[in-house]
Amino acid sequence: MFNINLQYIWDLLKYNPSDPLIFSTSLFLFLFLFFLVFYNLFGKNKMVRLALLIVFSLYFYYKSAGYYAGILVVSAVVNFFFAKFIASTENFTWKRIHLALAVLLNIGILGYFKYTNFIMQIIAEMNKAQFEPLSIFLPIGISFYTFKSLNYVFDVYLDNMEPTNSFRDFCVYVFFFPNLLMGPIDRASEFLPQVQKELYLSKEDLGKATLLIIAGLFKKVVIADYISLNFVDRIFDFPLRYTGIENLLAIYGYALQIYCDFSGYTDMAIGVALFLSFKLMDNFNSPFKATSIADFWRRWHISLSKWLLDYLFKPMQFSMRSLRIWANVIAIFITFVICGLWHGGAWNFIIWGALHGFMMSFSLLVQKPKQALYKLLRINDTKFLRFFQVVITFHLIAASFIIFRTNDMQVIKDMFSQIFDFFHVEVFLQFAEKLPIILGLMLLGYVLHFMPAKIENGFRKFFVALPWFIQAILLVTVIWIAAQFKSADITPFIYFQF
């Protein structure tokens, strides 16, 4: 009996590619509480506390990636030493050579795991040959931590920060489990100074961390997982079986799902990190309130868009600056194609990125006549105009997410043909009657999303001021509700595959 139990525990704790240690699992919750006790017990002993953090982070990644967790160690060693080489010389040619080698190594590792099959497929298609994909394991989160480590090398090259002398501190930065799998892609310049700080958690931080975990769990498990399993997936699988109104609702549903899924996870990541006394950067700011595609990218996956802006767009823009506005147009387009490719080696991601690049470039080119028209109609800077801008931007974003969701162009065609030729608005009543929870959750999700920032901040302040035991009761309640909503096994987070 005892042996069986030990075997069970070992099976539970060992590497299992289909069961990553994501924040919304009970295993994570249990291990994290256990870890938190020790982390605080050694709160005053920085050496032990950081060692615990490094070991737990490596275990966290091992649980999802097995021995490929070694890539993390390679990433830490490569970037730590290349940054050191870059900072140690005043010779710009040497600096550039070291930077180029570091980028080559990082992108080489990422490229091998993520794009080998895609590139081989393209070559095979060009030669009209049979394509047999190689069995290459994709270590989860590799795009996130590759970009995280690279920003350190770039910032040292640009003299934005001094390289750290402590390999231990750098390992804490690269391995840090809360943002390892799905970001935020934090900046070394913001993170490393925090490693040196003493462990301190104010009452306000504790309240914020609890609220972030509550919000994240709710968004991920209650809204995203539930509407995906019980509604969105079904329509995307067979759009022709449903009317146009249902297809349209599925498009709205998917936009909400991907937002709740991804931002829910980063909310939890920021909350978990805060419990460890680390402040991570914000990653979302009500993205569907955006008034333009450019505004959307200032609000959606902020840590990635800022990374792309600083290390890809700006260098390209500056080097082509004699072309003036065309430098912006070309740099935007290339940046977004690469942004698409970052999400995965598949044509739909490239098309999705190119579409965003095209929309932003186009909007840039027509900016002046557009402004003139608004002035002529006397609607510039009015609520009326902003309302239409939000509605149009939201629909463009939601439509672009269809390409993000599916690689099958026929599905996209079918969805639009149902919406334009077989709408049947009256089916909405049946939908509301048959699937009241889905409709209710979608309404709730969007109402919460479009809530004025003032109300949101007011609620945050109210929650933080509550006594800790009431916060704890609310957290347990949401965990209970989430458990009720887990109608099936946990679906993986959409952003894991990137």
């Binding site: 767009f313 260098p315 500056f318 600056r321 003036r324 840039l364």
Partner: protein
């Protein structure tokens, strides 16, 4: 201290009548100075002062004071 010439170039590009540009002013504080408009300002500054910046120098700029220092260093001030 931001020189009157530099200030004039920046304000003209941003279509602003006046703005209190200090050494530590950063682009997002100035109306219209976004990452897209930035390029027009840089090209105009290069043109007006007859200087040429390197991409790395431009990527290191944090505030208007940095731009002033960069211009001064190019002019040998």
């Amino acid at each position: 201290m931001i020189s009157a010439e530099l200030k004039a170039v920046i304000l003209k590009q941003l279509n602003l009548d006046d703005f209190n540009l200090q050494d530590d002013t950063i682009a997002p504080q100035v109306p219209g100075w976004d990452s897209l408009n930035h390029i027009n300002i840089i090209v105009e500054v290069e043109h007006k002062f007859g200087v040429k910046f390197k991409s790395r120098e431009l990527l290191q700029l944090k505030c208007v004071g940095d731009l002033q220092k960069l211009v001064d260093s190019k002019l040998g001030k």
